[in-house]
């Protein structure tokens, strides 16, 4: 869809230098270059600060702060000023869009933190905190979003602000949000994902112009779409008994409008884990759905998420990620403790779902 093909190449245009991924060596803090691959251990003197010690004895402190990811140049320049004045001119960003300042002197840590906080950047997100939410595009930029991303992240991080700055959770908590069912945000301890509840509404006038029909037909996971003539024009038809409203047909065919202000809901998923620590990586599971897409602050979503976090915080043992915790207490008790209703929609019926049925008498009463 959105890959570009440059029609004709005007003579004056510059040929790209196909430089690829740049070497990171020149951007690295000198202490990182010197001790590259030679670190011995780390500890965390306080939330938001990592202290790494090299085999040779060198030490660096990394101070982590939250950002909005979608940053205006003024904000970026402010961060650069802080890096130049209070750190050593080098920064890095984490996979969760937190910024890290690296200093080689313990004395620099406190002033740096003070300046960051003063400038509105919360210091935290390390260790057993609730880190920044994996952020997607939403209404600000994407062509298929059912909701926004930046606003959801902002609204939620406001609520989770304290947990970002503290390290009081049983283990790290990683959140993500995805503005359509495609899930660019990925697997997370807790994820918020759009869940459509009605089949696409087809704008038949447009299909013939903009959609390659076989492509759209092929995209449907349940073969619910078939070519049809509507008002004498080639269009498409949906078998509504089959369609499970995934929205996969929408990107290749924008006239298959899946987004709906009322019927595009939000679902909450928990227990995703990518790390191999303890158990194998696991997918997250849907535990709530039907939440309204209530911009600009999504209070219903925030409530469910905060509640899950609070119950987990109170109940889990040290080192138990959300998935590990539920492994111990079991799903029935998860629903009991969080007060979330277990509806029939949460029982898997997609391919391979049999593997997920309880084929044992392992039951908690």
């Amino acid at each position: 869809m959105n890959q570009a093909v440059q029609a004709a190449a005007p003579a004056q245009k510059r040929k790209p230098k196909e430089t690829g991924v740049p070497d990171n060596k020149k951007f690295l803090h000198p202490a990182l270059v010197k001790n590259y691959g030679d670190w011995k251990y780390h500890d965390r003197p306080r939330p938001g600060v990592l202290h790494h010690v090299a085999h040779g004895g060198d030490e660096v402190w990394s101070v982590r702060a939250g950002t909005q990811r979608q940053m205006d140049v003024h904000t970026i320049r402010k961060l650069c000023d802080i890096a130049d004045n209070f750190a050593e001119g080098r920064v890095r960003f984490t996979i969760r869009s937190n910024i890290e300042f690296i200093v080689s002197d313990a004395a620099k840590v406190d002033p740096l933190i003070a300046e960051l906080e003063k400038s509105g950047f919360p210091v935290g997100g390390t260790g057993n905190s609730v880190s920044m939410i994996a952020h997607t595009q939403g209404w600000l930029h994407c062509d298929i979003p059912g909701t926004d991303a930046s606003g959801v992240v902002k609204a939620l991080m406001d609520e989770l602000y304290d947990e970002f700055k503290r390290e009081e959770m049983p283990n790290r908590v990683h959140l993500s949000t995805s503005c359509c069912e495609i899930n660019c945000g990925g697997q997370a301890d807790i994820a918020i994902i759009v869940q459509h509840t009605k089949p696409p509404v087809i704008n038949h006038d447009l299909v013939a112009n903009v959609c390659e029909r076989p492509t759209v037909v092929a995209r449907c996971p349940v073969a619910a779409i078939r070519p049809a003539m509507v008002n004498g024009k080639p269009s498409l038809e949906i078998d509504e008994t089959k369609c499970m409203c995934c929205g996969a047909c929408y990107p290749p065919c924008p006239p298959m409008q899946i987004n709906d202000p009322e019927n595009s809901k939000l679902a909450i998923w928990v227990g995703g884990k990518n790390s191999n620590a303890r158990g194998k990586p696991t997918f997250m599971k849907m535990v709530a759905s039907g939440l309204p897409n209530n911009a600009p602050r999504w209070p219903e979503v925030a409530e469910v998420v905060k509640n899950i976090i609070a119950v987990y915080k109170a109940d889990a043992r040290p080192w138990e990620r959300l998935a590990d915790w539920i492994d111990r207490i079991g799903w029935p008790r998860f629903f009991e403790k969080t007060g979330l209703p277990f509806t029939k929609y949460l029982i898997d019926d997609w391919r391979g779902s049999r593997a997920n049925l309880n084929a044992s008498t392992h039951i908690r009463f």
């Binding site: 690829g20 909005q68 062509d143 606003g151």
Partner: protein, 431 residues
């Protein structure tokens, strides 16, 4: 001074609260830019109607076929003109970051300057695939911005059915768990595929991700068609001084409940010193004068847990390398897929090792290009053709590490059994 702001009662509410606000940032930009004034106008409209108003299109830079995400407004007046005309085009340049996403402030300031000039002034550090996303430029300005970025030494990333931008963890640069040089490997692999990045012509997207150890801080197992995750083959290393230091702080209860009980294969044991046995595959370390840790490394699955809890006191071994998994992806069409182990272990500490990985990546992508259906990811392709056929094509021997267990059904035609056994035996004898 830019034109007058539109009313944004919804967005205004996103200026409240302690977390840094993107709305405040946008409003800052809007002070100087009609472009952003209108962007806010359209976004407010989305908030009001709960609908998105962008559509794709065709915009790019000279010489490349991808890397720009074109956005044209669909919010039109009756007469077909854009409702927010100054933000009618809002394209994004995806720029590949340096591995580990390190920067000096000079570079960041240069980014700001050029994007203030040619774009909206909005930059995301980073997209979920790792790109620096320069968000919001008109069609005219895309080339200008790219030219300047490219002169700085940065290059466009992937979009569409292409090899995509990659991410690697901070790893060797600052992490004691790192098992290979993530940055070097990341560059060696990605820069082999520049043509496939810049000129989308694969069946569908293909992503690489690099994590230095099984903690997988890059989430590669479920977000990468090829995940390269560091690991080691020999024994866990120990440091008695740090082990004792840890024990003083945490004590026996935490040692037992937080580590012994959580070791997935029960190979991490605490014993009286006198009962601890050594051996070729055993790591041991005292935690005080009476007790110590014993790990049989043959049963250890390198999950990282004990190493994480007792960082420094325990550490990955010295015979380091990586496990390669193929086929991770997100929800579309058949549900989320995790990668599958296809190379249980590969050494990456020499150029030859890295070249072997590059070679494997090349052969994988060639096979993918030739055999995947349109819009089919590697994971789906392997699902369709079967792991064994993929391994065959890659000339990789099957290995029980690739599966949780052997098959649980008899539905296979095994008339080649004896031949396979003969092949295996021949290889063993040759080795």
């Amino acid at each position: 001074m830019a034109k007058k702001m539109h009313d944004t009662p919804n967005l205004d509410q996103l200026e409240d609260g302690p977390w840094p606000s993107f709305v405040t940032g946008l409003k800052d930009l809007a002070k100087d830019k009609d472009y952003v004034v209108d962007l806010l106008g359209q976004l407010e409209e989305s908030y009001k109607t709960r609908k998105g108003y962008w559509k794709g299109g065709t915009v790019g830079v000279y010489g490349y076929g991808g890397g720009v995400i074109p956005r044209f407004t669909e919010l039109k007046n009756e007469d077909g003109t854009p409702k927010f005309k100054d933000a009618a085009e809002f394209h994004t340049l995806r720029i590949m970051p340096p591995p580990g996403m390190h920067y000096d402030t000079g570079t960041l300031r240069q980014f700001c300057d050029l994007w203030e000039k040619h774009g909206s002034g909005l930059i995301a550090f980073h997209g979920q695939s790792g790109d620096i996303m320069f968000q919001g430029a008109t069609t005219d300005n895309v080339q200008k911005a790219f030219d300047e970025l490219n002169e700085m030494g940065f290059d466009l990333g992937g979009a569409g059915p292409a090899v995509r931008t990659s991410m690697s963890c901070v790893g060797a640069a600052r992490c004691e768990q790192s098992c290979y040089d993530e940055a070097k490997t990341h560059r060696a692999v990605l820069n082999t595929f520049l043509d496939d990045i810049h000129r989308p012509s694969l069946p569908y997207k293909f992503k690489f991700k690099f994590s230095g150890c099984p903690n997988d801080c890059m989430n590669s197992v479920q977000r990468a068609d090829m995940a390269v995750i560091g690991t080691w083959r020999d024994n866990i290393r120990t440091d008695e001084a740090l082990a004792k230091k840890w024990f003083v702080k945490h004590g026996m209860d935490e040692l037992v409940n937080d580590i012994v009980a959580r070791c997935p294969t029960k190979t991490f044991q605490v014993k009286e010193l006198s009962k601890i046995k050594g051996g070729e595959h055993i790591s041991t370390v005292a935690v005080n004068d009476t007790h110590g840790i014993e790990i049989n490394n043959q049963d250890c699955v390198r999950c990282m847990h004990c190493v994480n809890v007792m960082t420094g006191a325990l550490a990955p071994g010295k015979d380091k390398g990586a496990t390669v998994l193929v086929g991770g992806k997100s929800h579309l069409k058949i549900g989320g897929l995790m990668g599958t182990v296809v190379i249980p272990f590969i050494k990456l500490d020499t150029d030859e090792g890295v070249e072997q990985l590059v070679d494997f990546a090349q052969r994988t992508i060639e096979f993918f290009a030739e055999n995947a259906l349109e819009h089919e990811r590697t994971g789906e392709m392997i699902e369709r053709i079967g792991l064994t056929n993929f391994l065959d094509a890659m000339e990789i021997d099957v290995d029980p590490s690739m599966v949780n267990s052997p098959r649980m059904n008899p539905y296979v035609r095994t008339d080649g059994w004896d031949d396979e056994v003969a092949k295996i035996n021949a290889k063993k004898q040759a080795a």
